[in-house]
């Protein structure tokens, strides 16, 4: 009997190091499916961040490079300039991209570097046990905001898509989530659009994915998904913020 559901070829069959209920596994799978669908495994080069996804190269069967914390867009630029015909993407968390790597992401967008950035926003530093991220919601409790994030003391969460939308070089910007099969399918479509933007040489694309971190949100996985739908999306509304297709 022909299997109707199987592992993507680009996804390596290996035990995961991610926590139960984590969103990274779903997103890795989506990337692998798209690489298979577009048949670009042999010409794709990925960037792993510093953060929970540092070991992304253990799961994706493609050429990959690790980058220092926050620097994947710069390293991706260096690769893409050497190989303009290859598909280059960076995979980054909120600490990596929106805190220590803010300068790199803004200037990579401003150069409209023809790469795709996959920005996984889970509103917390997971790898270092749950400190405040630049995207931590107001009143959200973390190890470094034990009373909840207070705007007077800790500042406000940063909205990356909205910020990058002010930059002319940004060509495709979207925010999505993986809280339901419907949202996962939508996320896959947006990711695919990101990769296609690059293939068609449209310039810089970024897809922000709201993703659960049940362990450091101190919730069970179901509540974590509900937290995204009920709380995160009010601060980080889903949608498309820049699209070269509708602009033309």
């Amino acid at each position: 009997m022909e299997p109707v559901y199987k592992n993507p070829k680009t996804l390596i069959d290996t035990p995961t190091h991610y926590c139960p209920g984590c969103g990274h596994g779903i997103i890795h799978r989506l990337i692998a499916e798209i690489i298979d669908d577009l048949d670009i495994r042999g010409k794709t080069i990925g960037l792993a961040p510093v953060g929970c996804a540092v070991l992304a190269y253990n799961y994706l069967d493609i050429d990959m490079c690790e980058a220092a914390h926050g620097r994947p867009p710069a390293v991706a630029t260096g690769i893409k300039r050497v190989h303009p015909d290859k598909i280059v993407f960076s995979y980054q968390g909120d600490g990596d991209l929106a805190a220590i790597g803010m300068a790199e992401i803004i200037h990579t967008a401003s150069r409209s570097e023809n790469i795709t950035v996959i920005f996984v926003n889970n509103a917390v530093y997971g790898m270092t046990n749950g400190q405040m991220a630049p995207t931590t919601l107001l009143n959200q409790r973390t190890l470094t905001t034990p009373q909840g994030r207070n705007e007077k003391y800790d500042g406000y969460p940063i909205r990356i898509c909205e910020l990058l939308a002010t930059i002319d070089g940004s060509r495709f910007l979207a925010r999505t989530s993986i809280t339901s099969p419907k949202n996962i399918i939508k996320t896959k479509q947006l990711l695919e659009k990101g990769f296609k933007s690059q293939i068609e040489e449209k310039g810089f694309s970024l897809i922000e994915i709201l993703s659960p971190c049940p362990v450091y949100w101190r919730m069970n996985p179901n509540d974590a998904m509900k937290f995204i739908d009920d709380n995160m999306t009010t601060t980080f509304p889903l949608g498309i913020f820049k699209d070269w297709e509708s602009q033309n």
Partner: protein
């Protein structure tokens, strides 16, 4: 500019470094403005498009060194340059490059420090360059030119050394060498494809995937990797030491100096003859690997060694380690943009070695 082979050109050290990189097949340069190395960036901005290369004026030194990381990982010859404060910013990236065993060239046109310091010549980044600079057990190969011609030659060689050992190579110059104009001839043959790079990221088409990383979280793996690195460093120490030796055979005193300081010291060898003092010079060209052996050998037959630097005394520590007490090691240095003059150095020598016969000291 035209760079026909064997044509004599009048260039600044900075321009010569940039042009030599292009001649060596470097097509990816990333830089940020900082005096006194701006001419490298501006030269590249003009020249790279002419040769089908890329020059990006980046948002930060961090971006520059990480773009170098990317282009090196992608298998290309790549370079960045800066001056002292900017090189400090690049150190994290240099550690990652060394840890990922990526070949690249980094030019440091040293200026005075610490902090913002000033823009005048200095050699106060020696420790940073040869003792690591960033975190972890690693070395960059460090080459120290002392003329504009040698800057061009060493930048050229740096790309070969980097590819040969899969290791970052640093050119440690200074503001004097970077800003000064001298005649240069580019006479080396370009051979950027000498070294195959099967490890490079090119897309895993028809082969197993390549991963460039410096992260070894499984216990034991990192120690094993470090052992491999150290083995490589021992090989570099055995095979790549370079130095210039002048007059050391019968010298009473030998000066150890590099770069601009070495040039100045050469001036007093002749003055020493008039005073009946035989002065020799050892000029390290590789600062790492350091020419320990020749200094040790010379230390067995001279009265004293004098180290001259534009710093408060950095290389002198490596000289002392090489000498290991076989003879006295003295130091003369200037800091903060001060350049030692031949007169000052001679006075220091006369302090160490009294004149044998009564000769009037006419400097």
């Amino acid at each position: 500019m035209s760079t026909e082979k064997n044509q004599k050109l009048l260039l600044t050290g900075n321009e010569a470094a940039a042009e030599a990189a292009i001649m060596a097949g470097c097509r990816f340069y990333y830089g940020y403005p900082i005096t006194p190395q701006n001419e490298i960036l501006t030269h590249m901005a003009t020249r790279m498009p002419q040769v089908g290369g890329t020059c990006i004026q980046v948002e930060s030194e961090l971006a520059a060194i990480n773009m170098v990381h990317g282009s090196a990982a992608a298998g290309a010859r790549t370079m960045t340059s800066s001056s002292s404060p900017g090189i400090s910013l690049k150190q994290e990236g240099i550690s990652y490059l060394a840890g990922s065993e990526l070949p690249c060239v980094i030019v440091n046109v040293q200026r005075g420090g610490p902090g913002l310091g000033d823009i005048s010549p200095s050699q106060a980044d020696y420790f940073q360059a040869v003792k690591g600079g960033g975190h972890g057990d690693y070395h960059t190969i460090v080459l120290a030119p002392s003329s504009v011609q040698e800057t061009a030659d060493l930048v050229f060689d740096a790309f070969d050394l980097a590819d040969c050992y899969r290791n970052p190579v640093m050119i440690l110059g200074d503001a004097q060498l970077g800003q000064m104009m001298e005649p240069v001839v580019f006479n080396k043959k370009q051979n950027p494809n000498l070294y195959k790079k099967p490890w490079a990221l090119t897309g895993a088409n028809g082969r197993r995937k390549n991963v460039i990383k410096s992260f070894y979280p499984v216990k034991g793996e990192l120690e094993e990797f470090n052992a491999k690195l150290q083995k490589k460093y021992r090989q570099i120490e055995a095979e790549e030491v370079r130095y210039e030796e002048i007059n050391t055979k019968k010298a009473d005193i030998v000066i150890v100096a590099y770069g601009t300081c070495a040039r100045i010291c050469k001036e007093i060898v002749k003055i020493g003859e008039k005073l009946n003092i035989k002065i020799g010079i050892i000029r390290p060209i590789t600062l790492w690997p350091f020419p320990c052996d020749i200094i040790r050998r010379v230390s067995e037959r001279v009265q004293a060694i004098l180290t001259v630097e534009m710093s408060a005394g950095q290389m002198v520590e490596d000289v002392r380690l090489s000498v290991s007490g076989r003879c006295p090691v003295h130091f003369y240095g200037r800091t903060g943009g001060g350049i030692p003059s031949p007169k000052e150095i001679l006075e220091k020598i006369l302090e160490i070695i009294p004149i044998k016969e009564k000769v009037t000291c006419a400097t």
